[in-house]
């Protein structure tokens, strides 16, 4: 399973390096969202500062939707889904590989967005360990749930519009938890953020386990 996951992750990341969709489209989109929020809230600087964690994670979520749709779009062309089914790869390995590839892309995106937030919102960043752990756990949750719902929507004609409808409600707890943890880190009280990280870890574990067992049947049905 791990061998298969590494094979899929390597293939997806190589595809991204060659196509640069995340770099040329997803990252500019995320930065644009941040800039628009800054324009919209600029008259009241205090509101902007208070809302920074939530705005950051909303930008990440929107960007994740694009990355996830791209992850399944590459399998939807020219019989690639059938080729994957014939390959003999463990479906759980395919799931984990896609989660790893999407997570890697999102973590890079989050780091660059963090710089954007610091510049645009002039936020003072503290609690680095809490911020880093929150990012890793929230990213794993988003990638796991998104990959599971991505394969569910992949076989449908309305997949581009269906995926956000399915995914965003499921990720609401992750959005709340990551926002609260970031608020705690930025306010200099990281001890208040760790319980939220623990809660998100439970969600991440649930999504990963559901994906390991559910991805194969969903791949067959899609």
């Amino acid at each position: 399973m791990i061998r298969d996951a590494l094979l899929i992750a390597g293939k997806d990341l190589r595809l991204e390096l060659r196509s640069r969709v995340a770099l040329n489209q997803v990252l500019p989109f995320a930065l644009l969202v941040l800039v628009l929020f800054a324009f919209a809230l600029d008259p009241d600087k205090s509101v902007l500062t208070q809302a920074t964690p939530g705005l950051y994670w909303i930008a990440v979520l929107f960007s994740a939707l694009l990355a996830l749709q791209r992850s399944f779009a590459i399998e939807a062309t020219d019989g690639n889904r059938d080729a994957l089914r014939l390959s003999g790869l463990d479906p759980a390995g395919i799931f984990l590989g896609k989660v790893m590839a999407v997570s890697a892309q999102l973590l890079v995106l989050e780091a660059l967005l963090g710089v954007g937030v610091a510049v645009l919102y002039t936020s003072r960043i503290e609690g680095w360990i809490l911020l880093a752990v929150t990012s890793v756990v929230a990213t794993a949750s988003i990638a796991a749930a998104g990959t599971l719902y991505g394969v569910l929507a992949a076989g449908l004609r309305v997949r581009e519009t269906l995926l956000p409808l399915l995914l965003l409600p499921v990720l609401a707890p992750v959005l709340i938890g990551s926002t609260r943890a970031f608020e705690a880190a930025l306010n200099g009280s990281p001890s208040e953020g760790w319980p939220w990280v623990g809660l998100m870890s439970i969600f991440a574990s649930l999504y990963v386990v559901a994906g390991i067992f559910g991805f194969g049947p969903l791949l067959e049905e899609s």
Binding site: L7, K11, L15, R18, N80, D82, A83, L86, G88
Partner: protein, 235 residues
């Protein structure tokens, strides 16, 4: 060139009895009876929409068998269609290639997915004439024939026991078509079994041991045996 694991089992490679496959509610296969013994080349012929592609995809374990018996390479497709997939190679209308990856990357990925050796990848690329400059070209920039050759390289690198070829000559030039025929004969000599569908009957009839006709989702033996036929293993 050793391309397959030898098939030594005396039981038929393909055994279908009253096999039914549904596409939605439509019975694309409506009670197929078919036996194919090892190391044979069987040609499927029939009009468009007769069920040839569905039959090939069913044999690959991609279309669920809704009724009857279906055993391929000793695997019961009714019980576990996934179990046979890594042992068959399906060349369909779609290439199954990633446009942004190079020819070499694509062949290496699908070969590694099947557990093939790096040497198998090199042999496949060389055999299909893809070991030169083309190896580093992105698949999206290839011609249709070159993409077809890349798909064939992916297939032979996996060394399947059962080759399922849907219009394998389509999109290829004369040299490419001759190469397909040579690869098929080499695969059979190495122990594989080949089922192909083709509208290029002149060429395919020379290649096949047996011919079966698919019409309306059922299979019947062809009254005129193929020129290459010896003892009619497909019934």
């Amino acid at each position: 060139m050793e391309q397959t694991r030898p098939a030594l089992s005396p039981v038929p490679v393909v055994h279908l009895r009253g096999a039914v496959a549904l596409l939605g509610r439509f019975p694309a296969l409506a009670g197929v009876d078919l036996d194919i013994e090892a190391r044979r080349i069987v040609l499927l012929r029939g009009a468009n929409g007769a069920g040839k592609t569905t039959l090939l995809r069913t044999l690959a374990g991609l279309v669920p068998v809704a009724g009857g018996e279906a055993v391929v390479l000793g695997v019961d497709l009714v019980a576990d269609p996934r179990a046979v997939r890594h042992r068959v190679g399906l060349l369909g209308h779609a290439t199954g290639l990633y446009d942004e990856l190079t020819v070499g990357d694509n062949v290496r990925f699908w070969a590694r997915a099947a557990g093939a050796d790096p040497a198998d990848v090199e042999r496949a690329l060389t055999r299909l004439g893809l070991d030169g400059r083309l190896r580093t070209v992105a698949v999206g920039r290839l011609s249709a024939g070159q993409r077809r050759r890349t798909s064939l390289a992916c297939l032979i690198a996996r060394r399947p026991e059962l080759w399922l070829l849907d219009e394998p000559h389509a999109g290829l030039d004369q040299e490419g078509r001759d190469l397909v025929d040579t690869l098929v004969r080499e695969a059979v000599a190495a122990g594989a079994t080949v089922v192909l569908s083709s509208h290029e009957l002149d060429r395919s009839l020379q290649l096949a041991d047996s011919v079966i006709t698919v019409a309306g989702g059922v299979v019947r033996p062809d009254p005129s045996p193929a020129p290459g036929a010896n003892d009619g293993d497909a019934r």
